[in-house]
C-alpha cells in the first residue's frame, strides 16, 4: 500500500514507468522463485544421475550410476511393472467408467445424483484407507473373506491373495473408477440431447445411437480423461507400497524409495531411474497436450433437460450393480477399518468379548500418534493458508496483467502436475541436502510444507485463473476509478470477491497434504512423520489395530473435511475443463 495517489496525480506522465518496473520486478521474482522451486529439483535429479558421490558430499561425475541401473534387472522390471499395471487398469476401469458415467447422466436410473455423490465420496477417500481396508479382508492368512471361505464346503480351497498382481489390480480398479465417473458424468450430461434424438428420428436404435453418435461426439472428453489416466501412470504409489513390497513386487516409485532407503543409500541409481521417468514424461506430456487441444467439439447447448434413455427392465439390475460397486469402493473399506479399530480381533465375531475401546485408548495416549496428528495439522494447515495467497497472486498476474514473461510463468506452473510425488520428493531431498544453506531445513516440517505446496500448483492456479476470468475486469476498474491503487484494489475488492474460491483452494491443499504420502516419504524423519506416513509404517510393521485408528484419523481429516466443506456449498473436487 505504498502508493501515493497525490503524487501520481501530480505527475501523471511518470506514473506509468515505475509501475511497469515494479511489475517487471515482481515477475522476475516470481519466475525466479517458482522456477527455482519447481525446476531446480528436477535438474538436480538429472545431474545427480551422473554423480557417483552420495548426497552432501563433493560431486564426482561418472556414469557408474547409469551403468549400475542398467545392469540391475530390478530397475527394468519395476518400470515394466508400472506400465503393465497402468495398461491392465485402464483396460478394465476406463470402459466401465464410461459406461457408468453414461448410465448416471443419460438414463432414467434411480438415485443418479446419490450415486454421483457416492463416487465423489470415493474420490475423496484416501487410497491408504481403501488399500488397508481390503488388506484386512483379503490377506491370505488373516483376511476376513478368506477365513469365511475356509468354513464353507467346496469353497474352502479358494483363497484370495491381495499380495499379488491381481490383488493390486483389484484395489486399483476399486479406487480408480471414481475419477473417471466424476469427470465424465458432467461431460455426458452437458451433451446436447437433440443429437441423440436426431439419431433416433433418423432410424437409429438406442444401442446404435450410443455407438454411432453419443460415444463419437463424446470422444474429445473421453480422450482427455483417458490421457489424464495415462500421465497418472507414474503417480501410483501407496497401493504398490502396501501390496507389492511384501512379495518383492516393485513399481518404479517404490523402487526409488527402496534404492534411497538402502544402507548405504543408492540415491544416484534412484536419480538414474527418476531421469528415465522424467524423459518418458517429456515425451508423453507434449503428445498429450497436442491430442487434447487437437479436437474440440462444441456439444454444449441446453435447450431441454436432457431426454433420459429408458432402461426398461435393466433399470434395477443396473442400479444394484452400481450400488455394489460403490459399496465395494466406499462401504467395504470404511467398515473393515472401523471394525479393525473396535474389534478385539478383527473378523472374530465369536470371541467372548468381541468389541473393545482398548485400542482407541491406547492410540490416543500414544505420543507417536499425537505427534503425527500435530505434524499433519501443522503441515496441511500451513499449506492451506499459504497456497491460496501465493497462487491467487500468480493467477491474477497471469490473467489480468500484460507483463512480459507470463507464458513462462504459466508453463512453469504446469510442470508439477506432470511430476509424480516420489520424483518431486527425490528432487527436493537433493536440493535440501545438497545445498549447504538449505541443509538446516532437513528434518523440519518446513520441508514437507514446501513439497505439498508445490504439488498443487497446477490445479490451484487453473481454478483461480478460471475464477479471475469469470470475475470480470469492471469491478476492479471501478475501484481504480474510485481512487484505490493496485494493492488496495487487490485486497479490498479482489480477495473478498474471491473468498469462496480461496477457501476451496485451501480445503483442497489441506486434503492433499493430509492424505499424501509419496511427495514426503523421502523427506520426513521419524520426528516429522504425518499421519499418512505413520499409518504406512504401522501397516508395514503389522500393527493392524493401531493402523486402523491412524487410517481412520486420515479419513476424518480428508473425507470428513470434504463433506463439511461440501455442506457449506463448496464444490470440492475436479472438473473436466
Amino acid at each position: 500500500m505504498n502508493e501515493a495517489p497525490a503524487a501520481a496525480a501530480e505527475t501523471p506522465a511518470r506514473s506509468w514507468t515505475p509501475r511497469l518496473h515494479r511489475g517487471l520486478f515482481l515477475m522476475i521474482l516470481l519466475i525466479g522463485s517458482m522456477g527455482f522451486y519447481i525446476l531446480y529439483p528436477l535438474v538436480l535429479i538429472l545431474i545427480n544421475s551422473f554423480n557417483v558421490a552420495t548426497i552432501a558430499e563433493p560431486p564426482v561425475y561418472g556414469l557408474q550410476a547409469w551403468r549400475d541401473a542398467f545392469s540391475d534387472a530390478g530397475i527394468w522390471v519395476s518400470l515394466w511393472n508400472t506400465i503393465k499395471i497402468a495398461i491392465v487398469r485402464n483396460l478394465l476401469v476406463f470402459p466401465l467408467g464410461v459406461l457408468i458415467a453414461w448410465i448416471l447422466a443419460r438414463t432414467n436410473i434411480p438415485f443418479a445424483n446419490g450415486f454421483e455423490f457416492l463416487f465423489w465420496l470415493s474420490f475423496m477417500l484416501p487410497s491408504i484407507a481403501v488399500t488397508f481396508g481390503w488388506m484386512l479382508l483379503l490377506d491370505p492368512n488373516t483376511g476376513l473373506v478368506n477365513t469365511w471361505l475356509k468354513q464353507i464346503p467346496f469353497l474352502n480351497r479358494i483363497t484370495f491373495d491381495i499380495y499379488s498382481f491381481w490383488g493390486i489390480i483389484w484395489v486399483h480398479c476399486i479406487s480408480g473408477l471414481d475419477t473417471k465417473v466424476i469427470l465424465l458424468t458432467p461431460a455426458f450430461r452437458r451433451m446436447d440431447a437433440a443429437m441423440e434424438e436426431a439419431s433416433r428420428m433418423s432410424g437409429g436404435s438406442t444401442l446404435k445411437t450410443m455407438f454411432r453418435v453419443t460415444l463419437p461426439v463424446m470422444t474429445p472428453a473421453l480422450v482427455v480423461v483417458f490421457l489424464l489416466g495415462v500421465v497418472r501412470l507414474f503417480e501410483s504409489f501407496e497401493i504398490e507400497l502396501l501390496l507389492g513390497i511384501p512379495w518383492g513386487f516393485y513399481v518404479y516409485s517404490t523402487k526409488i524409495l527402496d534404492l534411497a532407503r538402502q544402507e548405504p543409500p543408492l540415491v544416484n541409481q534412484a536419480a538414474a531411474l527418476g531421469s528415465i521417468v522424467l524423459l518418458l514424461l517429456a515425451i508423453i506430456i507434449p503428445l498429450q497436450q497436442r491430442l487434447i487441444h487437437g479436437r474440440q467439439y462444441t456439444t454444449v447447448t441446453s435447450q431441454f433437460r436432457p431426454k433420459l434413455v429408458d432402461l426398461g427392465i435393466w433399470k434395477f439390475p443396473l442400479m444394484l450393480s452400481i450400488l455394489l460397486i460403490v459399496f465395494l469402493a466406499v462401504g467395504v473399506p470404511i467398515l473393515s477399518v472401523l471394525g479393525g479399530s473396535f474389534m478385539v480381533r478383527f473378523g472374530f465375531f465369536n470371541l467372548p468379548k468381541t468389541w473393545t475401546l482398548e485400542y482407541w485408548q491406547m492410540a490416543l495416549s500414544d505420543p507417536r500418534l499425537l505427534e503425527a496428528l500435530e505434524n499433519t495439522l501443522i503441515v496441511a494447515g500451513s499449506a492451506a493458508l499459504i497456497g491460496p495467497i501465493l497462487f491467487s497472486l500468480i493467477a491474477y498476474i497471469l490473467v489480468r496483467t500484460r507483463l512480459p514473461g507470463r507464458s513462462i510463468l504459466d508453463a512453469i506452473c504446469w510442470i508439477p502436475s506432470a511430476i509424480p510425488g516420489v520424483l518431486a520428493g527425490l528432487g527436493l531431498l537433493w536440493m535440501f541436502l545438497g545445498t549447504p544453506i538449505f541443509r538446516p531445513f532437513y528434518g523440519t516440517l518446513f520441508l514437507l510444507m514446501i513439497a505439498f505446496i508445490m504439488g498443487g500448483v497446477t490445479l490451484s492456479t487453473q481454478i483461480l485463473k478460471a475464477s479471475f476470468i469469470q470475475l470480470g475486469r469492471e469491478l476492479e476498474e471501478a475501484s481504480r476509478m474510485s481512487g484505490a491503487g493496485f494493492l488496495r484494489t487487490y485486497f479490498k475488492i479482489v480477495l473478498p470477491l474471491m473468498a469462496q474460491t480461496m477457501v476451496l483452494i485451501g480445503v483442497l491443499k489441506f486434503l492433499f497434504a493430509a492424505r499424501g504420502a509419496s511427495p514426503i516419504i523421502l523427506l520426513a524423519t521419524s520426528e516429522t512423520r504425518t499421519l499418512a506416513l505413520l499409518a504406512l509404517d504401522q501397516i508395514a510393521a503389522g500393527y493392524r489395530e493401531t493402523a486402523s485408528i491412524t487410517v481412520l484419523l486420515v479419513v476424518l481429516l480428508t473425507t470428513g473435511l470434504a463433506l463439511i466443506a461440501r455442506s457449506f456449498g463448496l464444490k470440492v473436487g475436479i472438473r473436466a475443463e
Binding site: D192, A194, E197, R200, M201, S202, G203, K208, Q303
Partner: protein, 371 residues
C-alpha cells in the same frame, strides 16, 4: 379423418400439465403449425408425436398405422415412426461431415452405397447445399447447418416432417429468407409438415392451417386468415397481433341487423356483421348487452374529413404522430380513451387535427365486456 391423427393427448411433468387433451387432424401434404407462447405445450406435443416423450394418455395414428395408443398399450419407438425432424439446435453430429450427417438415416436403412450417394446429393441440392458435402458439420454457418438438418430429415422420404422452431436461431434477415425457401420446398415435395413456433409471422405466412395453443390446450384451429381476423378466444385475439378495442352496448340484436353504440361517442351506431361473433362464444348478444368491439389496427382507415356514404366512421383527435420508417404510429383519442393506430406512411397528418376512423365491418369482432 386426417392423415396424422392425434387423439386426447395428455402429458404431465411433475406438477405441470404440459399437454391437456389435444386433438389434431392433419391432412396429407398439409403444412400445419402449432403456434403459442413458450410453455404452452406445443413442443411437448411435437415430441410426443415424434416418440421422444411418452404421454400419460392419448392415441396417435399415421394413416392406418397406430403409433401410440394408451388403451392398446402401443408405443412405436421414434426410430420406427418414419418421421423426419429438424431440431431447434439443428443437432448436427460434429464428428461427421455434411455428407455423413445426411447419409446417416439411409445407412441405417441399409441402402446401397451408390444409392446413398445419389440420394444425399439430391437432398443437398434440394436445400441448396450442393458442393459442401465434404465439409465437417461444425464448419458451416447457422443457415447452412439448418439446411443440412433439413436435408437429413428429408433424405429418407419420411411420411411426416417435424420442425421444432427451426428458424429461431437464425438472424432476422436469414430467417425471412429461410421461411420463404421452406414454404417453396414444402410445396414442391408435398411432404406433410407439423411445425412448432412461437413466432406469429412464421405461423401465419407458412401454414395451411394453424392451431393456437395455450396452457396445454388447443384454443383455435383454422387457416391463417381465419384465426387472425376471426379469433375464437381472447387469447387467440391478443396473441396474434395488436388489437384496437372500444367498449359499447348492443343497440339492436342480431336478428334485426346487429348494431353497437360505442360508449361516450357521439356517432351513429356501428353496423356489425353477424359473423363477427367469436365462434367459441355461443349465443347472440341481446339488446343492452355490454360488449367490446375489437378490430385489427390495419383494418382501420384514417380520413381527413368525414367520408360520405361509408358506414362505421368514428371521429377522433390525433394526439401524437411517430414516424417508424415504413409507417406511422398514431396516438388517437376517442372521447375519454386513447388508442394506438398504425398506418402506411403515405398520408400527411398533423398532431392535434381531427380525424375520422373507418372501422371496416368485416374486421370487427364482438366480445363480452369481461373478455
Amino acid at each position: 379423418m386426417g392423415f396424422l391423427q392425434v387423439r386426447q393427448l395428455r402429458k404431465r411433468f411433475e406438477r405441470v400439465t404440459a399437454v391437456d387433451g389435444v386433438d389434431l387432424d392433419i391432412e396429407e401434404g398439409e403444412f400445419f403449425t402449432l403456434l403459442g407462447p413458450s410453455g404452452c405445450g406445443k413442443t411437448t406435443t411435437l415430441r410426443v408425436v415424434a416418440g421422444l416423450e411418452k404421454p400419460d394418455s392419448g392415441e396417435i395414428y399415421l394413416g392406418e398405422r397406430c403409433l401410440l395408443s394408451h388403451s392398446q398399450r402401443v408405443f412405436v419407438q421414434p426410430e420406427r415412426r418414419e418421421m423426419g425432424m429438424v431440431f431447434q439446435s439443428y443437432a448436427l453430429w460434429p464428428h461427421m461431415t455434411v455428407f455423413d450427417n445426411v447419409a446417416y438415416p439411409l445407412r441405417l436403412r441399409r441402402v446401397k452405397a451408390p444409392v446413398v450417394r445419389q440420394k444425399v446429393m439430391e437432398a443437398l441440392a434440394l436445400v441448396g447445399l450442393a458442393g459442401l458435402e465434404d465439409r465437417p458439420a461444425p464448419a458451416l454457418s447457422g443457415g447452412q447447418q439448418q439446411r443440412v438438418a433439413l436435408a437429413r430429415a428429408l433424405v429418407f422420404s419420411p411420411r411426416v416432417l417435424l420442425l421444432d422452431e427451426p428458424l429461431s436461431n437464425l438472424d432476422a434477415r436469414l430467417r425471412e429468407e429461410m421461411r420463404r425457401e421452406l414454404k417453396a420446398l414444402q410445396r414442391r415435395i408435398r411432404v406433410t409438415v407439423l411445425f412448432v413456433t412461437h413466432d406469429q409471422i412464421e405461423g401465419l405466412s407458412l401454414s395451411d392451417r394453424i392451431g393456437i395453443m395455450n396452457g396445454g390446450k388447443l384454443e383455435q384451429v383454422g387457416c391463417p386468415e381465419e384465426v387472425y381476423y376471426r379469433p375464437a378466444t381472447p387469447f387467440a385475439r391478443d396473441f396474434l397481433g395488436k388489437t384496437f378495442a372500444l367498449g359499447g352496448k348492443v343497440s339492436r340484436p342480431a336478428n334485426e341487423g346487429l348494431e353497437v353504440r360505442l360508449d361516450g361517442m357521439a356517432c351513429s351506431p356501428l353496423q356489425v356483421a353477424a359473423t363477427s361473433l367469436p365462434s367459441a362464444r355461443g349465443g347472440a348478444p341481446a339488446a343492452g348487452d355490454e360488449v367490446m368491439v375489437a378490430i385489427r389496427p390495419e383494418q382501420i382507415a384514417i380520413w381527413n374529413s368525414t367520408p360520405a356514404g361509408i358506414p362505421n366512421v368514428v371521429p377522433a383527435t390525433l394526439e401524437g404522430v411517430h414516424f417508424l420508417g415504413d409507417r406511422y404510429e398514431y396516438t388517437v383519442s376517442l372521447g375519454s380513451v386513447t388508442r394506438l393506430l398504425i398506418a402506411p406512411a403515405s398520408q400527411v397528418l398533423k398532431a392535434g387535427q381531427r380525424v375520422f376512423l373507418e372501422l371496416k365491418s368485416e374486421g370487427i369482432t364482438l366480445w363480452p365486456r369481461s373478455g
